[in-house]
C-alpha cells in the first residue's frame, strides 16, 4: 500500500516535470503563406528559401529564449482564396503564434479581415501602401511602398530636367497599385503623362503599346511591373529603336532581369533596396555588414540574391527581435513589441516603427540604380 502511494507520487511528479519541460521546449510556431508557384513565384520562392534558411540557423543557435522556431508554410499560388483558407488553417489548425507572408498585395489584403478578427501579429511581404494605410492593428509590412518608388523616380527625372513621361504597366496588383501612385504623385513633381498604356502580365509582345508611346512625344518611359514582362518591354523598346531614358520599378531589382533583357537593359534606371549593390556601399554605411552577411549566406546556397528574399529576412528579423523583447509568444505582447521596433537594420533599410507607421522605412532606404555593363551601379 505504502509502496504504491510512493509510486503514484513519483510518477505524477515525473509527469508534472515532463509536462513543464515539454512546455518550455515547445516551439514557437511561425506561420507563412507565400506565392511559391504561379506568376509571382520569383517573389515567393526566394522568400521561402530565406525563411527556411534562417529558421534553421536560429534553431541551430538554440532558438529564441530557449524555444525552437517551427516554420509552417503553405503555397498560395497567388490565389487570394487559397491565401484566406491557408491563413485560417494556420490560425485554427496549426495554431501558429504569428504570421509572416503574403507575397502579393492581393494575398495580403485578402487575409487582413481574418488576421484582425483573430488578433494575430502579421508581417506582410507585399508592396502596396494600402496595407498600412490606414493603419491596421495587427498588420505590418517590410518592403518599401510603391509610393516611395514613384517619388524616387520623379526626383531623378526632375534632376535630369525631364517632365513628359509615358507610363506602361502590367495588369497585376503590384502594377496597378504602382500606376495609381504615379498618377497621384505626378502633378506634385510637375510631371505630365503623355501616354498611359498597359499589358497583360503573361503577354509576350508589347510592341503595339510601345509604338503608340513612340508616337506620343514622351521624354522618358516608366514601366511598373514584375516578372518577365518588364524584360520583354525593355527588349521591345530597343527593337522599336526608341532611345528615351527608361525607368523600371523595384519589382525587377534582380540579376534575372538583366539576364533576360540582355543588352537592351543597358542604361535603365530603377529605385531599389541596397541589397543588390551591397559591395558598392561605402564601408561607413551601417547597412553594409547586414547586407553582405545575408547576401553571402543566400548566394552560397541558392544563387543570386533578389531584394524579395531580403523582405522575408527583414520580416523574420523583426519578428524574432520582437519575440525576444516580449519575452513570450503572447500575441498582444508580440504585436506591441513589433510596433516598438526601433533602429533595426534590415536589408531594406533601417526600421523605425510607430503606432502610425507599420512599415518604418523612409525614402532614403531606396537607392537609385542603373544597369551598366550588365550589372547594377549606384547613380547618386
Amino acid at each position: 500500500m505504502k509502496a504504491s502511494w510512493w509510486k503514484t507520487f513519483l510518477v505524477s511528479t515525473l509527469l508534472w516535470a515532463g509536462v513543464n519541460l515539454a512546455q518550455a521546449a515547445d516551439p514557437i510556431k511561425i506561420g507563412s503563406f507565400l506565392t511559391v508557384t504561379g506568376p509571382a513565384s520569383f517573389l515567393g520562392d526566394p522568400e521561402l528559401k530565406t525563411l527556411q534558411m534562417y529558421v534553421e540557423e536560429i534553431n541551430a543557435k538554440g532558438g529564441v529564449k530557449g524555444r525552437k522556431i517551427e516554420l509552417i508554410h503553405y503555397d498560395t499560388g497567388g490565389d487570394a482564396k487559397d491565401a484566406v483558407s491557408f491563413v485560417k488553417r494556420l490560425i485554427k489548425s496549426d495554431k501558429v503564434d504569428l504570421l509572416i507572408g503574403g507575397t502579393t498585395t492581393g494575398d495580403t489584403m485578402a487575409v487582413v479581415p481574418d488576421v484582425e478578427k483573430e488578433g494575430i501579429p502579421f508581417i506582410s511581404l507585399a508592396g502596396a501602401v494600402e496595407i498600412i494605410e490606414p493603419v491596421k492593428k495587427w498588420a505590418f509590412k517590410t518592403p518599401h511602398t510603391d509610393r516611395m518608388a514613384a517619388a524616387k523616380i520623379f526626383t531623378d527625372l526632375r534632376k535630369r530636367g525631364l517632365s513628359k513621361i509615358a507610363l506602361i504597366t502590367g495588369d497585376g496588383g503590384f502594377d496597378k497599385s504602382g500606376r495609381t501612385q504615379i498618377l497621384k504623385l505626378a502633378p506634385e513633381y510637375g510631371m505630365t503623362l503623355v501616354a498611359d498604356e498597359s499589358y497583360g502580365n503573361k503577354d509576350t509582345d508589347m510592341t503595339a503599346q510601345l509604338a503608340k508611346i513612340r508616337a506620343a512625344g514622351a521624354e522618358a518611359i516608366i514601366n511598373f511591373g514584375l516578372g518577365q514582362a518588364p524584360a520583354i518591354v525593355t527588349k521591345n523598346i530597343k527593337q522599336l529603336g526608341i532611345t528615351l531614358p527608361v525607368y523600371q520599378s523595384h519589382g525587377v531589382a534582380s540579376k534575372t532581369f538583366i539576364d533576360l533583357a540582355g543588352d537592351a537593359a543597358e542604361g535603365i534606371r530603377l529605385p531599389a533596396a541596397a541589397l543588390v549593390v551591397a559591395e558598392q556601399l561605402p564601408d561607413t554605411d551601417p547597412q553594409k555588414p547586414v547586407l553582405l552577411a545575408y547576401k553571402t549566406k543566400y548566394e552560397a546556397k541558392h544563387g543570386p540574391v533578389s531584394t524579395f528574399g531580403g523582405h522575408a529576412y527583414d520580416g523574420l528579423l523583426i519578428a524574432v527581435a520582437a519575440l525576444e523583447r516580449a519575452g513570450s509568444a503572447d500575441k498582444t505582447k508580440v504585436r506591441d513589441a513589433i510596433e516598438q521596433t526601433k533602429g533595426l537594420i534590415g536589408t531594406a533599410g533601417v526600421f523605425n516603427m510607430t503606432p502610425e507607421d507599420h512599415m518604418g522605412l523612409n525614402v532614403d532606404a531606396f537607392k537609385l540604380l542603373e544597369v551598366h555593363n550588365g550589372a547594377w551601379r549606384i547613380v547618386e
Partner: protein, 291 residues
C-alpha cells in the same frame, strides 16, 4: 498612323505565326484522334526549356534545337501511348480532362527540372532591329516567320502529296473505313502526336529569344493555339494556320488601337462572334450529326 499600323501588323504576324504553329498541332491531333490536346502548349514550353538547358550545358544552338525537338517528340509519343491509347473511346470531356492532367503533369516535371525562373535563349542572329518603312522588325521575328512558312508548307505537302499524309487524313474522315483499307490507325495516331509535339517544340525554340520561357509558359499559348484551331474550323490544318495569323493580327490591332488591357477579351470576343455566325469555324467542314 500608317507607320503605327505597319508596326502593329508586324507584331501581329510574328505572334500570329506562333499561334498558327500551335494551332496546327491541335488540328493534326484532332484529325487523327478526335481529341483536343490541351497539353499542346506544354510541348512548346518543353521544346524551349530543353533547348535552353542544353545550350547552357555548352551545346551549340543547332544541336540543342535538334535534340530538344526530338525529346519533345518522344514525350508526345509517350503521351499518346500511356494516356490517350488506354482511354480510347472515352467521351469528349474525359479526354479533355486527361490532356489537362497531362499538361499539369508536364508543368510539374518542368518545375522540378528547371525551377520557377524565366529563361531566355539568345537570338539566332543578333538583336539589331531592321527598319521596314516606318516599322522595325527583329531578326528573330524573321526567323519565326520564315521557319513557320517552311513548316506549314512542309506539313501541307506531307498531307496532300505523300501516301503517309493521305493515310493520316483518311483517319480523320472515317476511322473504320481507314482501317478497312489497311491503314494502321494506331500508327497514324502516334504519327500525329509525334508531329504535333515536334511542331510545338520548334515553335517554342523559335520564340524563346523573344518572349522567354518558364515552366508555365505553355498555358496561354495552348489557349491561343486552341482558339486558332477553332476559328479555322477544328481539324482543318490550314484553317488553323489562318486562324492563328488572324488572331495574332487582331490582338496587336486591339492592343494598339482599342485598349491593351482588353486585348485578350477582344480576341475571344472575335472567336465568339465567329462561332455565333459560323458554328463550325471559318473553314470547317459542316459534318452532319450522327443520329
Amino acid at each position: 498612323m500608317p507607320e503605327l499600323l505597319l508596326q502593329f501588323l508586324v507584331t501581329g504576324i510574328t505572334v500570329g505565326s506562333l499561334y498558327a504553329l500551335v494551332g496546327l498541332g491541335f488540328a493534326l491531333i484532332y484529325n487523327a484522334s478526335d481529341v483536343v490536346n490541351f497539353a499542346q502548349g506544354e510541348f512548346v514550353m518543353l521544346g524551349a526549356m530543353t533547348a535552353i538547358a542544353l545550350l547552357n550545358a555548352g551545346m551549340p544552338l543547332l544541336l540543342a534545337a535538334i535534340i530538344a525537338t526530338s525529346l519533345t517528340v518522344l514525350v508526345g509519343l509517350l503521351l499518346e501511348r500511356f494516356a490517350i491509347e488506354p482511354a480510347a473511346g472515352a467521351s469528349v470531356v474525359t479526354t479533355i480532362i486527361i490532356t489537362i492532367g497531362a499538361a499539369i503533369f508536364l508543368r510539374g516535371v518542368a518545375l522540378l527540372l528547371w525551377g520557377k525562373d524565366f529563361h531566355a535563349l539568345p537570338p539566332f542572329s543578333g538583336e539589331a532591329p531592321i527598319r521596314l518603312g516606318g516599322a522595325t522588325v527583329l531578326p528573330q521575328s524573321l526567323w519565326v516567320l520564315g521557319v513557320t512558312v517552311a513548316l506549314v508548307l512542309l506539313v501541307r505537302v506531307f498531307l496532300n502529296r505523300t501516301l503517309l499524309g493521305k493515310a493520316l487524313l483518311a483517319c480523320s474522315f472515317n476511322r473504320t473505313a481507314a482501317q478497312a483499307v489497311g491503314i494502321n490507325v494506331k500508327a497514324m495516331l502516334r504519327l500525329a502526336y509525334g508531329l504535333s509535339a515536334g511542331l510545338g517544340a520548334l515553335a517554342g525554340i523559335l520564340i524563346a529569344p523573344i518572349t522567354f520561357s518558364s515552366y508555365e509558359a505553355g498555358v496561354m499559348l495552348g489557349l491561343k493555339g486552341f482558339s486558332a484551331a477553332i476559328v479555322g474550323g477544328i481539324g482543318n490544318p490550314m484553317g488553323a494556320v489562318a486562324g492563328g495569323l488572324l488572331l495574332g493580327v487582331l490582338e496587336a490591332l486591339g492592343a494598339g488601337l482599342v485598349s491593351s488591357g482588353y486585348k485578350d477579351a477582344i480576341a475571344f470576343l472575335f472567336v465568339l462572334m465567329v462561332l455565333f455566325f459560323e458554328p463550325t469555324g471559318l473553314f470547317g467542314h459542316k459534318a452532319a450529326e450522327r443520329v
